[in-house]
């Protein structure tokens, strides 16, 4: 019988120093032992697989009327049907696709803006910092959801792109603030001075030395940010300014389900539970990664 490949075998094939391998192995080992990361990552992997595989899964078209209205969950229709006779199970899975797509892209753009602004503010300091930190504070004064709601309701008209932009605009300030604080402390470290003395330019120091040293907290917050973005997207759709019907979206399904809560509770329960589990997954991963990436938690058992 062939022996199963262990982690060490895989790592042994990589071109890296023994110490780096040890560090990676250590992080993976600790992630495995960390229940939060394990559960969170499993949920996220399942959700992403469902989202990616939605078009090839043997499920009905989410926008087609396939059955009678208000059918309760059965062997055939696991999550029942909605008021127009569409398959709720299929709509929840296609909704995963929309939610993750919007959340991941929105957080990607937030990170992009946040990292650039925060890095510049923290690294250069002085007037640049004054301007950028002021802008960050301006955005920070509004709750992200309110800002996204205002933008989605007034400027953009319900396309997916508009929702992504709305969430990015309302969410970047948090990343920028985090990045700025990190950059402020890293720029004082001696290797920054040393690379300057060896002739490196500001841009080079910022991106090759300051940024990689700020990554750990950003990874943690990005994961929690995706959870937030999913919630914001669903809330916008719930209020009718997010993803527009007939595109399946968890938030809109919740809204339609609310109106029919008496006669068809499955219409809102299932999207709600899936939304909850997905958000929980990203939050668990974020929290767990915080512990895993924190060297002070080394050796602790959870």
């Amino acid at each position: 019988m062939r022996r199963r490949k262990t982690l060490s075998d895989i790592l042994a094939g990589w071109r890296m120093s023994e110490g780096a391998k040890e560090a990676i192995k250590d992080i993976i080992d600790r992630s495995r032992r960390n229940t939060m990361v394990a559960v969170g990552a499993t949920i996220i992997i399942v959700m992403f697989s469902l989202a990616l595989l939605a078009p090839v899964l043997p499920i009905s078209d989410p926008e087609e009327y396939v059955d009678e209205s208000f059918q309760p969950p059965s062997d055939n229709r696991w999550f029942g049907t909605d008021e127009l006779g569409r398959d709720v199970f299929s709509r929840v899975i296609w909704g995963t696709r929309i939610s993750l797509q919007v959340a991941v892209l929105a957080i990607f753009f937030s990170l992009l803006i946040g990292i650039m602004m925060g890095l510049m503010a923290g690294y250069f300091g002085g007037k640049t910092d004054y301007l950028i930190a002021g802008t960050i504070d301006l955005f920070w004064t509004f709750p992200p959801f309110l800002l996204a709601l205002a933008f989605a309701a007034t400027v953009a008209g319900g396309s997916l792109t508009a929702v992504i932009i709305a969430i990015s605009i309302s969410y970047w300030a948090g990343f920028a603030r985090l990045m700025r604080g990190q950059a402020l402390s890293v720029r004082e470290r001696q290797f920054v001075e040393a690379s300057r003395a060896l002739g490196a330019s500001n841009i080079r120091i910022m991106f090759t030395h300051v940024f990689p040293n700020c990554l750990a907290p950003l990874i943690v917050w990005a994961s929690i940010g995706v959870a937030d973005a999913i919630t914001i997207e669903s809330s916008l759709s719930f209020l009718g300014v997010g993803t527009q019907p007939p595109t399946p979206s968890w938030g809109y399904m919740l809204f339609r389900g609310l109106a029919n809560l008496q006669e068809a509770p499955w219409m809102s329960t299932f999207p709600g539970v899936v939304l909850l589990i997905t958000v929980l997954g990203f939050n668990l991963l974020g929290d767990g990664m915080r512990d895993v990436l924190d060297p002070r938690m080394k050796g602790m058992r959870r």
């Binding site: 120093s17 110490g19 780096a20 001075e193 040393a194 003395a197 060896l198 090759t208 030395h209």
Partner: protein
Amino acid sequence: MIAAGKPLLEIRGLRTQFFLHEGTVTALDGIDLTIYENESLGIVGETGCGKSMTAFSVLRLVPHPGKITDGSIKFKGLELMNLTEEQMRGIRGRRISMIFQDPSSSLDPVFNIGSQLGEVISLHQNIYDKDALKKKTIEALKLVRIAAPESVLRQYPHELSGGMKQRIMIALALSCNPSLLIADEPTTALDVTIQAQILNLLKEVIREAGSSMILITHNLGVVAETCDRVCIMYAGRIVEIAETFELFGNPLHPYAKGLLMAFPKLGEQKEELAVVRGTVPNLMEPFPGCPFVDRCDYATNVCERVRPTMVEVEPGHMVACHLYPKGGGWQDG
């Protein structure tokens, strides 16, 4: 030794000031210093006397809110003060390099040694070919006597000892054959046996490369071991410059005398070490006279009022003190 080399770096009237809310601190007050080719010069002085600031000023890296307000720095006849920031970047690391006090924090913790060395080499020599770069980095590590360069290339700073890290900093600094290496207290953070190794290494690699070195330290023992000439700084000014042997045998400035007196000698029984009494003057208040006047046993009225100028008492032995009047001393006798 003195007249042998051509001047490599000529600093004239260098003044570096820090503009704080509380007032202006004059960190360097008219530094005149020449470094010749193929020599190593020690700069000695107590904390805050401007040793490191001299180094940063030469590289034009004075930290905010500091500014170089006056003076000229000529490197091989090229006026560094007139260069643009971009031209200056071409000088740093390539023509003039610097190594720092604490090797453990001078290396970036997230990259392995190979990529950090490679970064400097590709930056200054425009080598991007992977194999050529690797060959260059291995050469650089061999230069600093690292036994297994291939494996060290793949290691990260936290896997190396302090001495190894300082060797790598030296390799980084020397990777582009600079004409001048500035070592800012390179051995302070290391233990004594490693200190000796690193100093010997510095001495050897500098000689092999035919470069010059400025060694900044507050340890007179380090200077005695490593340097050809010594420059003693006090409160942002140079008070005495001489060849190492000359200075240790015949210190002229009262501060230099005090420093050497305070240095314990092997085999000597002493109940108490000699001290230089008093503390450094506040650099925020301008003083018209000699900065050492309050701590000096030989101070006279003139020391309070008039700033002493550099006098060449013996050939190559310069001192800034009123005890040695211009045109007096050995010339009269």
